[in-house]
């Protein structure tokens, strides 16, 4: 594989984490414009852990996940009773709060004779674990793929158990859910923690691939994109958001004949798809049919 293909596939993989994160909340009935915040937390957390504190890579990634999940749950707790636009704006508010906070967040320590760590708006340089460990881009791509598979496996477990059903019930009718004895608050906070953890996971991987992160990378746009991926790809299965990323970034590469008009073509295509399938390509009906077919 040439290095260009590797970098495109790595980006698809990393963006999938963010898209799955937004998708989990969509399933639970909440629109989030702010999952990029947990991606950023994962990137900074894991980066600080390996570059400044010199933790092993796996532990650093784990720290990023815990940070994303923990802050996700913490933010969800007061925001839990908000729905629809209110929740969307609250998530946006938190994400922008965090981003502007990172703009003044300085935490530079001397490591091996160099100052390392986040330097406000100048960003955070030298997250060099992959370089120092001698991991080639292809190896790192495989690592990203493996991590993504573990997230898919986790979602599959939830679907096999009761987790996914709980998310969908609360997402569709929280009042009915409560009258079935379900604790809507716990489901919503759990969903937010899960979504935050997944985004943090992706963020940690991203930081160690890019070796450099800065607050400006975590603006509203990637968050809105991530949200759109799930809606385009479909809310039925976890492959929906991944399909959304593939369609977008894949289209970006394959529609190079349309260079300059790519988004005009792609945007129109997406709008047409949504007219025919309002809940995305792989929607719940597709999931039901698929499950019925499997059972046959």
């Amino acid at each position: 594989m040439d290095s260009y293909t590797i970098s495109v596939l790595s980006n698809i993989g990393l963006f999938s984490f963010l898209a799955i994160s937004a998708w989990i909340l969509l399933i639970a009935g909440e629109i989030s414009f702010g999952q990029q915040a947990y991606f950023a937390l994962g990137a900074y957390g894991a980066g600080i852990a390996t570059a400044v504190w010199q933790w092993p890579f796996a532990l650093g990634l784990g720290f990023g996940i815990v940070l994303g999940a923990g802050i996700g749950a913490l933010v969800a707790w007061p925001a839990m009773r908000l729905t629809g636009v209110h929740f969307a704006i609250a998530t946006l508010a938190f994400a922008e709060f965090l981003r502007s906070g990172l703009n003044i967040f300085r935490y530079r320590r001397e490591v091996g004779g160099y100052l390392t760590g986040p330097d406000g708006a100048n960003g955070f340089r030298d997250i060099r674990w992959a370089y120092e460990a001698g991991v080639e881009p292809l190896g790192y791509l495989i690592l990203i793929g493996g991590c993504l598979l573990s997230v898919i496996a986790l979602v599959a477990c939830l679907a096999r158990g009761r987790g996914m059903a709980l998310l969908r019930i609360v997402g569709e009718d929280p009042i009915l859910a409560a009258m079935q004895g379900i604790s809507v608050a716990r489901v919503r906070i759990g969903a937010a923690a899960l979504a935050g953890g997944v985004a943090g996971f992706g963020g940690g991987l991203y930081a160690h691939m890019a070796t450099y992160v800065e607050p400006a990378q975590f603006g509203v746009m990637p968050g809105v994109h991530a949200l759109a991926y799930g809606l385009i790809g479909g809310l039925g299965t976890v492959f929906g958001p991944i399909l959304g990323v593939l369609v977008d970034i894949g289209a970006l590469e394959s529609l190079r004949v349309f260079s300059g008009y790519r988004m005009i073509v792609f945007g129109g295509l997406v709008a047409l798809v949504l007219i025919v399938r309002p809940r995305g390509l792989l929607d719940e009906a597709a999931l039901r049919r698929g499950l019925a077919w499997l059972r046959r």
Partner: protein
């Protein structure tokens, strides 16, 4: 210190009036359709670029530029409404939102095609003197913003109360079922509301661009975000609330910018926004009839 506070508040009120107009557009669409049009800001951006282009090509005066902005915004909004809202029927608020996002991407690329640079000039109101009220200075553009916003809200309130379209709009917003039964042409009212919202947004966009003297495609995202925030602060579906929300946002931002700097402004604004949402989910001018529903939500 106190004088700074007053000066900032005056400036903030003016910018806030523009935010309020953006929120007004959002709240009209949201009230009638219960769907979020995140391509609202980008439609305004198209209008502004149409105006800038007209000015650059033929160096026309302010009035033709204004009309071009209005026309650009309204025509784009009509396109968005047809594709992302009218065509997607049923209980599909999410699909409309995603679709309007896709159209947004289209619009941004279209502008990037035609205007490959980053920033463009926009005509300003020249030759108007700075207004002095004691020690406080008021930019003339800001005075125009304030007066326009107040006049527009007054006109809207009157129109909603006294015209047939206004009555239909209110019925559709407050009691959609009743509107359907009583023979209101829902599709038509929704479409016209969309255009009305775009026109208001266009006016806001024109004033903001004329005050700044330059524009970038980023104004699309900016207008969507500021409008949404002001709407939510004020309370969904309330015209007065939209304006109040805009003014509050403007004043807070201006003072935070002055006393805390850019990073401080962002942090304070968003922290306050988060708190406001959690503590006052109905908004500053929230309606009380949502009370029983809100209670049911709280008890989950």
């Amino acid at each position: 210190m106190l004088l700074d506070l007053v000066q900032n508040t005056v400036d903030g009120l003016a910018v806030g009036a523009a935010y309020g107009l953006l929120a007004l557009g959002f709240t009209l669409i949201f009230g009638v359709m219960r769907r979020l049009n995140i391509a609202f800001g980008p439609s305004i951006m198209i209008g502004i670029f149409a105006g800038a282009w007209l000015h650059a090509e033929w160096s026309v005066g302010m009035v033709p530029v204004f009309l071009a902005v209005l026309a650009g915004a309204v025509i784009t909004a009509a396109y968005v409404e047809r594709i992302s809202f009218a065509a997607i029927r049923g209980d599909a608020a999410l699909a409309s939102m995603a679709s309007s996002f896709a159209i947004w991407m289209q619009l941004e690329e279209a502008v990037a095609r035609v205007f490959p640079g980053r920033t463009y000039g926009f005509p300003t109101f020249d030759g108007m003197p700075m207004i002095e009220i004691g020690p406080v200075l008021l930019r003339p553009e800001y005075l125009v913003m304030l007066v326009t916003a107040a006049a527009l809200v007054a006109a809207l309130q009157w129109g909603l109360a006294h015209t047939r379209f206004g009555l239909e709009l209110r019925t559709l917003a407050d009691r959609p079922e009743a509107a359907r039964v009583s023979g209101v042409n829902v599709a038509r009212v929704a479409f016209l509301t969309f255009l009305l919202a775009a026109a208001i947004g266009g006016i806001a966009g024109f004033l903001i661009a004329a005050a700044d003297g330059q524009i970038t495609p980023k104004i699309g995202l900016w207008a969507t975000i500021k409008g949404l925030i002001a709407m939510v602060i004020g309370g969904l579906g309330s015209l007065r609330g939209a304006l109040i929300g805009g003014l509050v946002l403007g004043v807070v931002e201006a003072n935070a910018q002055w006393f805390l700097g850019a990073a401080g402004r962002e942090m304070t604004t968003y922290a306050l926004l988060f708190l406001a949402l959690v503590l006052l989910p109905a908004g500053l001018a929230g309606r009380t009839e949502a009370g029983a529903r809100a209670e049911a939500e709280r008890r989950l």
